[in-house]
Amino acid sequence: MNWITNYVRPKINSLFSRREVPENLWTKCPECGTMLFHRELAANLNVCSACDHHMTMGARERMMSLFDGGIFSEIKVPDPVVDPLGFRDQKKYSDRMKAAQKASGAKDAMLVAEGEIARTPVVAAVQDFSFMAGSMGMYVGNAIIAAAEHAVKTKKPLVLFSASGGARMQEGMLSLMQMPRTTVAVQLLKEAGLPYIMVLTHPTTGGVTASYAMLGDIQIAEPNAQIGFAGARVIEQTIREKLPEGFQRAEYLLDHGMLDRVVHRKNLREELATMIRMLMSLPPPIKGDLAPPPPPPEPEVLPTPAESEG
C-alpha cells in the first residue's frame, strides 16, 4: 500500500464499475469472423454486413421484423403435459426446461402470432433455435396446431419459420408423434384452401424437416441455411467419404429441386406479401407504403448448445 494505490485505485475502479457493459455488444459472424456491433447487426436483420451470412433470429425479433410496424398479437398455445416421461439424462429434463425458459423468457421453442405483412393479414409461427436447439416436442406440436386452427378460423394464410435440430429426445416417442400431429395441422390448412408458406432457416434438420417443414405450398429458404434430414457427421461416418462443399445448404437444395426459392432476409417481407396475395387472389401489395423498419431490439441471448436429435 502506498499513496498511489490509496488514491488512484478507487477512482479507476469506480470508473469501470460505473459503466454498464451489455454482455454481447459485439457478435462474431460464424461464417467470416467479422465482429459486428449489435445495433448495426439488428438493423441489418441479423445478417452479416461483410459476408451476407444469415444468423439465427429469436422468435420475437423475427415477428417484429416480419410484421408491418413490428406490430403483432400473440396467439395462445395450449400447455402440454410437462415432462411426460420423467426424463433424466445427466440433468433432469424439467431442470433443462426451467433453465431454457429463464434464459429466454419464452415458454418453449415456438411463438405464434398474427399481424399484417404489407397490409396482408397473416398468421405466423416462428421456431426459436436458441430454445433447446428449437427442438420439437409437445409444445411445438401444439403451437403448430394452434396456428393452423387459428388460420383456418380467421381465413388467413400461415407462414411458418423453421429452425430446429429435430425432435426433442427428452419427450421420447411423444416428440416423434409431433410428425403426424403437425402433418394433420398442414392438412387442415390445405382443406381450407389457405396458403401454407414454409420459410426454412438455419438450421432445419431431423424430424422437423421430415414433417411440416417439407410440406409447404411454397418452400422458401434463407441463403446458406443448413437443411437436411440426417446430420452431416452421421452421413460421413456412414458413407465414409467427405461431403461436397455446400452440401445440405439452401442453394444445394434449390439445385436439387427441393425448394422453390432462396430469399434474402431483406426481401422476405415483400416476397411473402406478393406471393400470398397472388395465391389468395388479392390485388398486388402497394409498394413503398410499407411501415418503417422496427427499432433495433436488444441483443439476443446466445444460443444454448444443441440438444436434439441428429
Binding site: 439424462d89 409437445m138 392438412q187 410440406l215 452421413i235 436429435e309
Partner: protein, 319 residues
C-alpha cells in the same frame, strides 16, 4: 442359435445338454436322456426368467436379433397370392422396402414393410432395412393405389431408421418421409401397422401413422436409437442402457402412453426362438384390428386417424 450377451447363462445350460446328447450318440449303450431332459427343463426355466423382466436395452437387443422373423417371413406366413409391386416411377426400386398386393384371410389388401434381410448378401441387398427416398415414394404409390381400389393397407415396421446417405439427402429423404406420413393420414381405407422389430424414428413414422398400431412384445419404437441419444445427451455412446431406459421405447411403456394400441405377445424367449408362433400371433392381431375398423366409412377412417394423433400425448407417464 445366436445368443445375446444377457443370454449367456442360458447358452451354457443348452450347450451342456447338447454336449451330453452328442456324447451319447457316439458312445453305445449310454443313456443320458434323463440328465439331458433335466438340463432342458433348467434351460426352459432360465429362459422364462430371463424374458420375464427384460430391461429396455435388452429389448433393443432382442428387437434387433438377427434370427428374428422379418417382413418377408411375415408376408410368406400370413398372406397368399403376394404379388410384389416395385419402383417409385421416378428414380429406382428400393429393396429395403417391399410391398405389393396380397390376400389376408382371402381378403385383398396392400402389404408394405421394411425388410432387413437374413444373411450378409440379402442384408446388403436390403440395405439393412434402411430406406432411401425411393422406398418411401414406392410406399406412397402403393398406399395411393390401395386407396383408389378400397384395399386396406397393412404395414410391417422394422427399420433402424431412414438411410443417412449423400444421395438420399440429395433426392429429398426428408420430403419423402413427410409425404409418406401425409399419405398415411389421407387414406380413406383402414391402415394397420405392426412394429415387428425396430421402429426407428422418422423412417418408421412414415409407415406407422395408422388407425391402429400394434407392437410385438419385445419390439421397440423410438425417436432416436439409444446409442445416438447417449452420444448426444450423455456425450458417451456407451451409456445406451441408460438412454434406452429413459426414452421409454418399449411396447409396454408406449401402450401406457397411448401411443400404440396393442401389444402382441411373443413366444417364450422372443420371436427368434419360435418364428412360426410369432407370425401366427401377428396374424391374429391384424385380424382383430382390421375387425375393429370394419364397416367404417372413408370419412370415419380419416377422422379416426386424425383424432387419434391430435389427441395423442394428452396423458403423460407418471413415473
Amino acid at each position: 442359435m445366436n445368443y445375446l450377451d444377457f443370454e449367456k447363462p442360458l447358452s451354457e445350460i443348452e450347450g451342456k445338454a447338447e454336449e451330453l446328447r452328442a456324447l451319447a450318440r457316439t458312445t453305445s449303450g449310454m443313456d443320458v436322456s434323463k440328465e439331458a431332459e433335466a438340463l432342458d427343463r433348467k434351460a426352459e426355466t432360465a429362459l422364462r426368467d430371463l424374458y420375464k423382466n427384460l430391461t429396455a436395452w435388452q429389448k433393443c437387443q432382442v428387437a434387433r436379433h438377427p434370427d428374428r422373423p422379418h417382413c418377408k417371413d411375415y408376408i410368406d406366413g400370413l398372406f397368399t397370392e403376394y404379388t410384389t409391386l416395385a419402383g417409385d416411377r421416378a428414380f429406382a426400386d428400393d429393396h429395403s422396402v417391399m410391398g405389393g398386393l396380397a390376400r389376408f384371410n382371402d381378403r385383398p389388401v396392400m402389404v408394405i414393410g421394411h425388410e432387413k434381410g437374413n444373411d450378409t448378401k440379402s442384408r446388403i441387398e436390403r440395405n439393412f432395412g434402411m430406406a432411401r427416398p425411393e422406398g418411401y415414394r414406392k410406399a406412397i404409390r402403393l398406399m395411393d393405389l390401395a386407396d383408389r381400389f378400397r384395399l386396406p393397407v397393412i404395414t410391417l415396421v422394422d427399420t433402424p431408421g431412414a438411410y443417412p446417405g449423400k444421395g438420399a439427402e440429395e433426392r429429398g429423404q426428408a420430403e419423402a418421409i413427410a409425404r409418406s406420413t401425409e399419405k398415411c393420414l389421407s387414406l380413406g381405407v383402414p391402415l394397420i401397422s405392426v412394429v415387428i422389430g425396430e421402429g426407428g424414428s422418422g423412417g418408421a413414422v412414415a409407415f406407422a401413422t395408422a388407425n391402429r398400431v400394434a407392437m410385438l412384445e419385445h419390439s421397440i419404437y423410438s425417436v432416436i436409437s439409444p446409442e445416438g441419444c447417449a452420444s448426444i445427451l450423455w456425450k458417451d455412446a456407451e451409456k445406451m442402457r441408460e438412454a434406452a431406459e429413459a426414452l421409454r421405447l418399449t411396447a409396454q411403456d408406449l401402450a401406457k402412453l397411448g401411443i400404440i394400441d396393442k401389444i402382441v405377445p411373443e413366444p417364450v424367449g422372443g420371436a427368434q426362438r419360435a418364428p412360426k408362433d410369432a407370425i401366427e400371433a401377428v396374424g391374429k392381431a391384424i385380424e382383430s384390428l382390421l375387425g375393429e375398423l370394419s364397416g367404417k366409412s372413408r370419412a370415419e377412417l380419416l377422422a379416426d386417424r386424425r383424432r387419434k394423433y391430435l389427441e395423442m400425448g394428452s396423458k403423460g407417464l407418471a413415473a
